[in-house]
Amino acid sequence: MEYDLECESVSKRFGSVLAVDSVSCGIPSGSFFSILGPSGCGKTTLMRMIAGFEEPDSGDTRIEGQSVVATPPNRRNVKMVFQHLALFPMMNVGENIAYGLRCRGADKAEIARRIDDVLERINLPGVAHREIHQLSGGQKQRIAIARCMVLEPALLLLDEPLGALDLKLRESMKIELKQLQHRFGTTFVYITHDQSEALVMSDHVAVMRNGKFEQVGSPQELYRHPQTAFVAEFVGDSNQWHGRVAGRDGSEVKVEADDGPPVIGVEGGGQNLAEGAAVRVFVRPEHIRMQPLGAAAEPAPEPGRNGEQGKIDSLLFNGGNSRVLVRTASDRLIEVDLPDADSAAELREGEDVALSWPRARTMCFSSSE
């Protein structure tokens, strides 16, 4: 595979803080790569090293196969969309886009043609003469991207560019960004602390924690097969319990929960849990099946599934993403996805229900990491 960007054990320390800790990665050409992590984990620092604004303490960065460690930021073929966009307020839209072209020494006719062309491609034709403050949030976003893309970089870095937008606009910009990336065919490296942004847009996601890449994979892989408790918790929603390993049977482990009945699950991330080890158990709401208990006796436990009973505590209606909170006999709250919005109407608070979920979807991780 061809890589536009390769990092090799890149590290950066600020005083006593190891902001980026020996990160290695290869980003395939033309892909949408996200770096996902909580704030303060070192995402911006890593990106600033790629752009050349911070010098790594150690390690190597290659862009299109060439080491750029000694290259100043203005000579790197990497463009960046800043967190607050950093559009030049004293220039209009056209001048903002022309800035980079002029730095390259392009002639007037060429610049005018390229500006029209790039504005066309971001679906904002004819705004070249507008002032920056006359644009809406979403338009500014697109101009900031156009200003970079007009220079045809090997790599576009985006540092939480949607953070300042309101929710509705953020949703539509997610799709817009993905489409823009397709249209330009350029490699995007996208930084975010919002897992849904990363999952929706990316071909590959790196989950970052304390300066390290915890897991790199496709969004599906991260969601279905998290390698660590941190990834399981950070990517997607989960019900989470604490417990201890009480025994094991082949690939399955029996977990004695701290505040509930025992469950049987599988070890996540290829670890080998010792008997007695403290573990965290994750079950995603959509894997839990809920059945009304009615007057009938307890349903027989199905093979390969964990089960528990409880009462409906509350309905969390949210259209197609509605959920139910179930309070179990052991006084835990469990979130359960509803298959569709209509089924919410048939449920009443206080109703007795039986929950069950597959053992294979009950992920156990050592809690010592």
Binding site: A51, F53, P72, P73, N74, M90, G100, C103
Partner: protein, 289 residues
């Protein structure tokens, strides 16, 4: 009385001191000066109105030469102050650490803690024939007899820069402080070198502060009295000295008032021209810096 009236009364009271200040200390004296400048003495205690004072100014080259010289040196001082003040302001606003910022700013304020007179005396101590600099140069063997460093234009310019540079640095620091660092980084990221980033991003962004600083510095310099007289000596040919001369020495108030009006009009014209050339407006400058 409605709340509307109450609010109006409140506003009037609020602006009263400000209005009084404008009227009593700025408008009235200038109107008075202007009227005075139009008076001609035709006999003891007999005056008529006319522009004879202005004609006299035009007919006497030494007067308008002094005014032109004052304006030219003031412009030079303004330009040099900008040149020296800009890097200092940039350092304070953008490069210095948060903790040392305040200390640096205070350091710039120190010259204002002593009076004009004491400051000028300090320069005299340093630069006179038997002064510190002359002595030091002799001790080092660089010169073999005392040199007089006072009473020349270079000394006047240096002294004036020293006196006014703070008024350049303060507005520059406040505009540059408001500039997001990422603008500069974006300038580099998009392929600009240092010179391009300075010329196309930092300076245009700081323009309101530059203009504000230049106006204040130019007006202060053109209107200064002590520094040019004490450091430049008798033949420093500073226009305020001419005004002083007319009012106090010759007791010719009409002519003094004429010179005062001319200084105000001339410096205002220079400022207006500067604003036109830099494409700024006074309101925009004040609002942004």
């Amino acid at each position: 009385m409605g709340s509307k009236d109450a609010r109006r009364l409140f506003l009037i009271l609020l602006f009263m001191p400000f209005a009084l200040w404008i009227i009593l200390l700025i408008a009235l004296p200038n109107i008075g000066m202007f009227i005075l400048s139009l008076q001609e003495k035709v006999g003891p205690r007999v005056y008529t109105y006319g522009i004879a004072n202005y004609v006299e100014f035009v007919n006497e080259p030494i007067y308008w030469n002094t005014l032109l010289r004052t304006a030219t040196i003031s412009l030079l001082v303004t330009a040099l102050t900008l040149l020296i003040g800009f890097p200092v302001a940039y350092y304070i606003a953008k490069i210095a650490k948060k903790q040392s910022k305040g200390a640096l700013f205070l350091l710039c304020l120190i010259p204002l803690w002593v009076s004009d007179l004491v400051r000028a005396f300090g320069w005299i101590l340093l630069l006179r024939e038997t002064g510190v600099v002359s002595g030091a140069l002799q001790w080092l063997g660089l010169i073999d007899q005392p040199v007089e460093l006072l009473y020349n234009d270079v000394t006047v310019v240096i002294g004036l820069i020293y006196t006014v540079i703070l008024f350049m640095i303060v507005p520059l620091v406040s505009t540059l402080d408001g500039m997001d660092d990422s603008l500069v980084e974006a300038g580099f990221n998009l392929g600009g070198g240092r010179a391009t980033v300075l010329r196309r991003i930092i300076i245009p962004y700081a323009m309101p502060g530059i203009v504000a600083g230049c106006i204040v510095v130019f007006m202060l310099t053109a209107g200064s009295y002590l520094t040019p007289i004490l450091l430049g000596g008798k033949n420093s040919m500073w226009f305020t000295e001419q005004i002083y001369d007319q009012f106090i020495t010759r007791y010719n108030w009409e002519s003094g008032a004429t010179f005062g009006v001319l200084l105000l009009v001339f410096t205002s014209a220079v400022v207006w021209l500067g604003l036109r050339l830099s494409g700024q407006t006074l309101a925009g400058t004040v609002a942004k810096s």
